[in-house]
Subunit: 233 residues, 2 copies
DNA sequence: GTCTATAGCATGATAGAC
DNA sequence: GTCTATCATGCTATAGAC
């Protein structure tokens, strides 16, 4: 699907080809955790899953996941403690489900633009895809970014490795442009990651200034491209 | 003091002129909160303060501040619950003391390089000072970055304003170089902030690759300078 | 100035009614 | 499939001994 996109695609163009978005993610979640969810009727299950995760994002954001209580979660969702446990196995597994969903999308993303011939074009596409995915799934990525350190050691490790794989992929592409040593490419890739992650980490800052995600992506891509291809300026 | 620094100073040079570092911060903390700390003998008080805050950073990092218990804190510091309350008024005030210390240093930083004539030189100096300060006071800045959202509304607001003031200062300087519109300068300043904050947020990534803080600062500064001054490349 | 002991309440999880 | 009621544990904060 990604082959149909231009190099400098917009959010609207990206939306048409991305496999996961705000509305179909609940089905994805239900199917992936079907064995642990005891509720069988699909319609109400999807509605309650949405309530549970939206409330989790809100509560974890205001007090942190480990300090959020299941009683607060019940109050926000309208479920009882017993009802809630039909959807989750434990509080820790609730976080694990989020982390798993995010890792799935980020792992897929690395393969989306491997058909491109130019390394710097692939970098641009990956940065745009990262920014637009984080626009669509902001609460999910935000949760993992801020909470993975407080989760079980195993999940923490997996989250770090996932970030590092994406980082290394960008670094390898930058090195392939021929303009950078391995160490320079690693650092420049780190700057790329920091810039694009800022879109979902500091969302309040960009919203207050009414900056659109397309303008943000344009600015980040231009900064990196002008450094990797100085002759074009 | 900052007037004696060259434009592209190193960590070693910055250390000689910075007012606050790892060892004198405990005195600063004790004096600033003297009215709330009931312990009077200065020597033991400084030792216990160091134990309390170092343990707080470690525990908050592994479970989050709101989920960290004062019992864990007592076990790590060797103090009893009663003893601990000689140094803090409440758990919330412990976080407020950290937030206050960090805000002090960040507010001072904005005035350090106003004597420079060239806006882009001032940007370089501010970015280096920010990175080197965060190297020296990493656990403090890391705590505020990750925990301010979970603190009281008042503190959350103050932390955001502090970030925004620094951001706006950089943006104004970039606009003063003459190469950017207000909106472009805002976005480029945001990229600056994200890159330099990454040094203390993703420290594990840089340490694993054995990247020195001087190399990191050089890379970040070069990226921004090459964009703001394309003719020099 | 630091300790032990405890008050008063909230927590994650489960059992069993319907 | 969802509820209410309850368990055992752990929490912040304080009182009072030394």
């Amino acid at each position: 699907m990604m082959e149909t996109l231009p190099i400098s695609f917009t959010l609207a163009e990206f939306r048409k080809v991305t496999p996961l978005d705000e509305s179909n993610i609940w089905s994805f979640l239900l199917d992936r955790n079907a064995d642990r969810i005891s509720v069988k009727r699909r319609g109400p299950a999807l509605e309650n899953l949405e309530k549970i995760f939206v409330a989790t994002f809100r509560l974890a954001n205001s007090v942190g996941f480990r300090a959020m209580t299941l009683r607060d979660l019940c109050q926000e969702t309208g479920l009882s403690m017993g009802g809630l446990y039909g959807y989750i196995e434990s509080k820790d597994q609730l976080a694990a489900m989020i982390e798993d969903a995010v890792r799935q999308t980020s792992e897929q993303m690395r393969t989306w633009f491997t058909h491109l011939k130019s390394p710097i074009d692939e970098v641009e596409c990956l940065l745009r895809a990262f920014i637009f995915s984080s626009e669509i799934l902001q609460p999910w990525l935000f949760f993992v970014y801020l909470e993975s350190r407080t989760l079980a050691a195993e999940q923490r490790k997996v989250a770090k490795e996932s970030e590092l794989r994406f980082h290394s992929h960008i670094a390898a592409l930058l090195e392939a442009t021929g303009g950078f040593s391995e160490a320079q490419a690693f650092l420049l890739a780190a700057h790329c990651m920091a810039c694009v992650q800022d879109w979902y980490v500091k969302r309040w800052k960009y919203h207050a200034e009414k900056i659109s995600v397309d303008d943000f992506a344009e600015s980040a891509v231009k900064l990196i491209r002008s450094y990797a291809e100085p002759q074009r300026r």
